[in-house]
Amino acid sequence: MTTTEMKKVFSRPDSLKDVQTHYCPGCQHGTIHRLVADALDYFGIKDQTIGVASVGCSVFLYGYFDIDVIEAPHGRAPAVATGAKRVHPNRPVFTYQGDGDLAAIGTSEIIHTANRGEKLTVIFVNNTTYGMTGGQMAPTSLPGQKTSTSPEGRDVNTDGYPIRMAELLSGLEGTAYSVRVAVDTPKHVLQAGKAIRKAFKTQLDGQGFAFVEVLATCPTNWGMDPLKANERIAEEMIPCFPLGVYKDATE
């Protein structure tokens, strides 16, 4: 048996540069990057696509994706993407944002971009914390979650409740597709890949705003090893952030 008899059935997507990421071991930004790159490969749109990077651990998007990238100020990726998309209505444009970026400082931009029905794809990585700045409380932190700014655990009475973006955005008419997925098991990863593909298809078909919330780990700031962190997704996150399609107006 030689290699020539074998078919490669899984390999690095073309849209992803062949470099090492700066992400921590077990950080699922890497997984989600790969899924997005797979979608770009699938549709063959790598050379047309514009990625809009946000500020968070994924700020170096341009270092990993082999596509054109604009780096947006913290929280403003949807506005930057709107500007880009209006200029290039035929180029696929996506934003890639963390939960601090999208659900805190960028709340207004994501809501109005969805409400305008901008033909964009938004990849939202919910890891219940501000990864890049060292693990502060995010709008999506779970009740009781200890973070560097909620040392006694998030107190819903004063800090508020975990905000559910996939649900919230599904209430807006401009939203064509809103879904929540996770990447904690191979099955979920495959589902996440499909959702991301669909979110690009929604854009390519001109059907409106498409939103994919991905539950992911931040082992470092959760203070857990990658396996333990990964388990937390099913144990703690999914109960609070149920997976599923919250809106699908693409049919």
Partner: protein, 184 residues
């Protein structure tokens, strides 16, 4: 008294801890000290460096262009910072990881210390930093090893106090290595 030292290694080698310890011990001895870390966006895996300036008067610049001493724990640090050591100064080189013996410079004192091996010998690879620190204070006498021990007690959280003896042993081992080296 007016001393400064630059420490560099990779994240996880415990550079920042010994930097803190040294500065704190200086203060415990009634002198002044500043501890200035360099930190990056990349928290893990990246370089960790810090500068400690110690003085019996108030400390001026916490930043030093040509440090009096440098503790270099990995090859990258050696490459980047060795040449900056002040003429007449001192370099402590972790020979467990660094091949370059620094012999190209004759204007400074050097001490090659196999810190990783020594640490493993004591029983924990994470003690590299303490060994190096012990050697440095033995050489420089900026603070006593006792002050370091006292500082360590305050810096380490209570629940980790069971590791104190091991750490003390490492400090002593480093100091002893230095004594031996310069005695010979």
């Amino acid at each position: 008294m007016n001393h400064d030292v630059y420490m560099a290694g990779f994240g996880g080698q415990g550079i920042l801890l010994i930097g803190n310890l040294l500065a704190y011990a200086t203060i415990l001895e009634g002198n002044q000290a500043s501890y200035f870390p360099a930190y990056g966006v990349e928290k893990r895996g990246g370089a960790a460096t810090c500068t400690i300036v110690m003085s019996d008067k108030s400390v001026g610049s916490p930043v030093v262009g040509e440090p009096e001493a440098a503790l270099l724990l990995n090859p990258l640090s050696m490459e980047k910072y060795y040449s900056h050591v002040r003429s007449g100064g001192f370099a402590l080189i972790n020979s467990s990881l660094i091949d370059d013996d620094g012999s190209r410079r004759t204007d400074i004192k050097r001490l090659l210390i196999p810190a990783n091996e020594m640490a493993l010998a004591i029983g924990d690879s994470r003690l590299v930093n303490m060994i190096v620190l012990g050697a440095y204070v033995e050489y420089s006498k900026v603070v006593s090893v006792d002050s370091l021990k006292e500082a360590l007690k305050e810096v380490l959280p209570e629940r980790n106090h069971r590791f104190l003896p091991m750490n003390h042993q490492a400090l002593e081992a480093g100091a002893e290595f230095c004594r031996q080296a310069f005695a010979s």
